[in-house]
């Protein structure tokens, strides 16, 4: 076998050559897109069940376990856990639903709350020991959620405004001089119907993908450069960067979950706008 190989990760092992170090005549085993391909743990028919899927499902139950503990037997005078859960809920309820949509956003609160915590959980897996992989860095998960948001967005648009009103809502922003509409109407249509769901999915995917790649680069580099005295000095630097990036990622994960949810709320808010 030649050295140039495609390396994939399974649930347990790392997706790079572990016995290769600096000054040993072998090149840096840089992470690649293939670091995001996992061997299946088991296969059911056509579905190869792999580690990210497992993480997604564990994440689901982690969210539910936390909020179940906080909210299933709620007290008027809250305990500590309930208080934390309430603060998180309030952040989405008041900070996103009320802030972006207003009073009409109340029916969408469960959707927004679920979206925020689900996306955050998928992102958060990147930092949880042994998991250490952001599930949302696999394009399928953001695409699924963005499709769902798109369907709801379209449904709400047409249900609120009727068919003609819905088309108007999607294509004709109000309050502009007439000639502008010649250019703006197709742009608006493409933007609202196609670009929005696409960017919604890709923004989340790309952020998490890039973040994971960054952390992989410096983590692998730390390992790769160990061995000699000089190499260890380099490795220390690389390790510090890894730690800094990890903290940064912690921030990005929450931010991307927030952005995903706020954008969903913005789309819904626009869909709920009455025709002028």
């Amino acid at each position: 076998m030649q050295k140039e190989l495609l390396v994939t990760a399974d649930a347990q092992t790392l997706a790079f050559e572990v016995d290769c170090h600096l000054f040993q005549g072998c090149g840096f085993p840089a992470p690649s897109a293939w670091s995001f391909i996992f061997d299946p743990i088991f296969t059911i028919g056509p579905v190869e069940f792999n580690k990210p899927m497992l993480l997604a499902i564990i994440g689901t139950f982690a969210i539910l376990a936390f909020f179940w503990a906080g909210f299933s037997k709620p007290q008027v005078v809250p305990g500590k856990l309930q208080m934390v859960a309430e603060a998180l809920y309030d952040f989405v309820h008041r900070g996103i639903a009320k802030e972006v949509i207003g009073k009409k956003g109340e029916p969408f609160v469960p959707l927004l709350v679920s979206l925020f915590f689900f996306v955050w959980m998928l992102n958060l897996w990147a930092l949880i020991p042994l998991a250490q992989f952001p599930v949302s860095a696999l394009i399928g998960y953001p695409v699924g959620l963005a499709l769902l948001v798109w369907v709801i967005y379209m449904t709400v648009t047409f249900r609120t405004n009727g068919f003609v009103g819905g088309i108007r809502n999607l294509c004709v922003p109000s309050g502009l001089p007439k000639p502008i509409y010649v250019i703006l109407t197709p742009i608006e249509f493409v933007s609202n119907v196609f670009v929005r769901p696409f960017t919604l999915a890709v923004r989340l995917f790309a952020n998490m993908f890039a973040g994971h790649i960054l952390i992989l680069v410096f983590t692998i580099a730390t390992w790769y450069m160990l061995g000699t005295v000089l190499g260890t000095v380099y490795a220390t630097g690389s390790f510090v960067v890894t730690v800094v990036l990890t903290v940064f990622e912690l921030f990005i994960q929450a931010l991307q979950a927030y952005v995903f949810t706020v954008l969903t709320a913005t789309y819904l808010s626009q869909a709920l706008e009455e025709a002028h």
Partner: protein, 178 residues
């Protein structure tokens, strides 16, 4: 775990449908539990809490209003009591004045009575004195006449002396009586 390029695994930049499916199912579970169980539960409690806080405020308001009405009552009662006291004092003053007036009138009356009684007494005394005097004068005159008759009028000079003596006697008597 090593794959040759020939095995051609799925490109990581293209979504695979099992991922979409699993993602949506997982999200669906989260959404279902949140919307059916957890959020209604916590919303109910948040509403209860809001009501409890507002109820507390309402209760405090009620207490304040009651306290104000009680204070109002007390003030009214106090004003009434003051009014009553003033009225009583006024009445007492009037009664006192009337009583003083009465007493004065009574005193006046008694004084006049006493004065009148004094006058009557004096008059009676005077009458009594005049009567006694008249009797005395008569008796004296009789005495004098008797003496004059008894002297047999021998000589004019003696007569004169007798009269003089009599008169001086009278004077002495009067002096003594005085």
């Amino acid at each position: 775990m090593l794959h040759l390029a020939a095995e051609e695994p799925q490109s990581p930049l293209l979504p695979v449908w099992p991922e979409i499916l699993i993602g949506l199912i997982a999200f669906g579970i989260v959404f279902f539990v949140f919307s059916k169980k957890l959020l209604p539960a916590i919303n109910k409690v948040l509403e209860e809490r809001r009501e409890a806080i507002e109820g507390g405020i309402e209760k405090a308001d009620e207490a304040r209003i009651e306290a104000e009405s009680v204070l109002e009552q007390y003030k009214a009662q106090l004003a009434e009591a003051r009014h009553e006291a003033a009225r009583l004092r006024q009445e007492a003053l009037e009664q006192g004045t009337a009583l003083k007036e009465d007493l004065r009138a009574e005193g006046q009356r008694q004084r006049e009575e006493i004065i009148a009684a004094g006058h009557a007494q004096i008059e009676a005394d005077r009458k009594q004195a005049a009567l006694t005097l008249r009797q005395d004068v008569g008796k004296l005159a009789t005495d004098l006449a008797g003496k004059l008759v008894g002297e047999s009028l021998e000589d004019h000079a003696r007569q004169s002396r007798t009269i003089d003596r009599f008169l001086s006697e009278l004077e002495e008597k009067a002096e003594a009586a005085r």
